[in-house]
Assembly symmetry: C2
Homo-oligomer: 346 residues x 2
């Protein structure tokens, strides 16, 4: 199989997407990877395997690579003697944050008829906005942390007792997220969050919780990863999370009892449902007193959470088998014909 | 001003989008229109003003028009002597249903940096899925009709007493929607709805309600249309609604008391909020016993609901003044540089 890896993007997580894509080169042993980079300016470049090193991008050397155009059925290299199609079977959307996780890449691939692994548009909208995630989880009976909503310009007189977590409603990877322990820190934390979004969520900081990550997808059956208990710190900021994106080793399963594990797996399946078909996602849960809370959905997890799966490469191949979910709409102009008949024009 | 009108699309409402676009030719007096058609196969064509007739499309004559490619900053006509850009100031997304209302067009324009009038991606996802609309409305304190959710394959043992309205969760213009008065009609209505979606909403048919439409947008101020009471039938099906898309005359304001009107306007503004910035939408409300319920959001209303505005053309011009809401993200490779330094590679 030939798998195109799409990475970069106009995103605060552009650089960690590069790290994720470099990690993929080590993960895939049997699959040929075609690397397609989306620059800061949203131009597409075809990157040679030998150039898949972080410095190639940070030094702007990528500008010497072949430029691609996206058009009907795929990417083409423009040239003196017409366009040449870049051949691959499936595209893996590996753009973290904006462009990749907000639904733009899904829209582009869907519109131009490129088979792709990624949450579809609606699934992206649901997971990109933390408020929507909560509304959605609530509608399918999956618990989330209670929250307070603040709009830019609202009174900052919050009702949730300190300590609290302050989060912009959109964006992933802890960007703009702060923990507030004392009254005096609140204003600054809100300023930071409002830098990134008009809508900010304030959640109680829950102590005595455990954090568990569950990744998975639906191919022709459920394929769930091991449950991981991520290395616990009070709260992970962007720099600490960053290193996660280069992980390629396996990790051990969390030490978790069967009942809690079952609850996490059930919640994952409920969230994934039909909406996330075609994607490999990671859901981050909290556990407190036996209750499971969905903390967030990672629609394009760092390095695709490969390290949580026994058999990541083969799973990607299985997932690639059936990725076209959009209904084919035949336009027969029946209405226009009938209007024309009625008007005596046909 | 030059306004590009984008219409057609791979949508069940492809044909009514053509009707809407033809209507625009009559509405705009001072603005030059550039007509861009999206065919069934999702190819772009530049359509001459003289060819803006329904027969030009239904007869496939459009295939003789110039083909366009979408790329960075706009559309180009490919040719023997290189690409020539199609010049316009703003694009009006007039694709009803799939592609236009589901967020694909918004994604494409955003990705390629084309200024456009349309709900943005997230607003599309919210209004395209009727379940999400309800969850969203609920979160901002706007009432909607109570509902029951059915997944494909679920028991069809509904709890809502008849008569009920059965709707697929996605799609607009009443496609797949049925009214069920008797038990015996339920199965067929559900079959029809599940043809279009995996998720179906069942709502009680509310009698003794009034229906009111409110359109509007936010330019540098709120610009709300008159409130219309649409010609009332028990329930409008697709063919009856169709004719709405060719409306260009003015309609009279509904005979409605000030309190109800105020409630409708307030609800409209709450729904529109920041999320619908950059778009002209129509919200359809029900009124019963003084309570206002949001029935649906029309993110790309038929003929842009032009007939409800005093001053539609100038409003579009005002709206065009500020349409770039996405934050500019500067990629400086600071993280990659710092990793390289740490590794002694920089």
């Amino acid at each position: 199989m030939k798998l195109a890896v799409l990475f970069g993007g106009s995103s605060f997580e552009h650089e960690i997407s590069i790290v994720s894509a470099i990690t993929m080169q080590k993960i895939f042993k049997k699959t040929e990877l075609i690397n397609i980079f989306v620059s800061e300016k949203r131009e597409f470049y075809l990157i040679d395997k030998k150039d898949m090193k972080s410095k190639y991008f940070s030094s702007s050397d990528y500008k010497k690579a072949k430029k691609l155009q996206l058009q009907k059925d795929g990417f083409v290299v423009g040239g003196m003697f017409g366009d040449k199609k870049v051949e691959f079977d499936t595209l893996l959307n590996l753009i973290h944050g904006r462009d990749g996780e907000d639904g733009k890449v899904a829209s582009l691939m869907e519109f131009y008829g490129v088979p792709y692994i990624s949450p579809r548009l609606e699934a992206c909208a649901l997971s990109y906005n933390k408020l929507f995630t909560k509304l959605f989880a609530d509608s399918i009976g999956v618990k989330t942390i209670p929250y307070e909503l603040l709009h830019k310009g609202d009174s900052r007189d919050i009702k949730t007792p300190l300590p609290v977590i302050v989060k912009p409603s959109r964006l992933g990877s802890s960007i703009g997220v702060s923990m507030v322990k004392e009254e005096s820190e609140l204003d600054y934390a809100l300023d930071v969050a409002f830098e990134f979004d008009d809508l900010v969520l304030v959640e109680p900081f829950m102590s005595g919780i455990k954090e568990y990550n569950q990744a998975g997808c639906y191919t022709d059956k459920w394929e769930l990863s091991i449950i991981e208990e991520p290395h616990k710190e009070e709260f992970l900021d962007f720099e600490k999370k960053y290193m996660d994106f280069s992980r390629d080793g396996k990790v051990g399963a969390a030490d978790i009892d069967n009942i809690a594990a079952q609850k996490i797996q059930d919640s994952f399946k409920r969230v994934y449902g039909n909406i996330f078909k075609g994607s490999i996602i990671r859901c981050d849960f909290f556990e407190q007193n036996g209750d499971i809370y969905l903390n967030e959905i990672n629609p394009i997890p760092g390095s695709m959470a490969n390290y949580l799966f026994e058999d990541f490469e083969d799973m990607v191949v299985r997932l690639s088998k059936d990725l076209n979910f959009e209904q084919n709409i035949k336009i027969d102009y029946a209405y226009i014909h009938s209007i024309q008949s009625a008007k005596g024009k046909a």
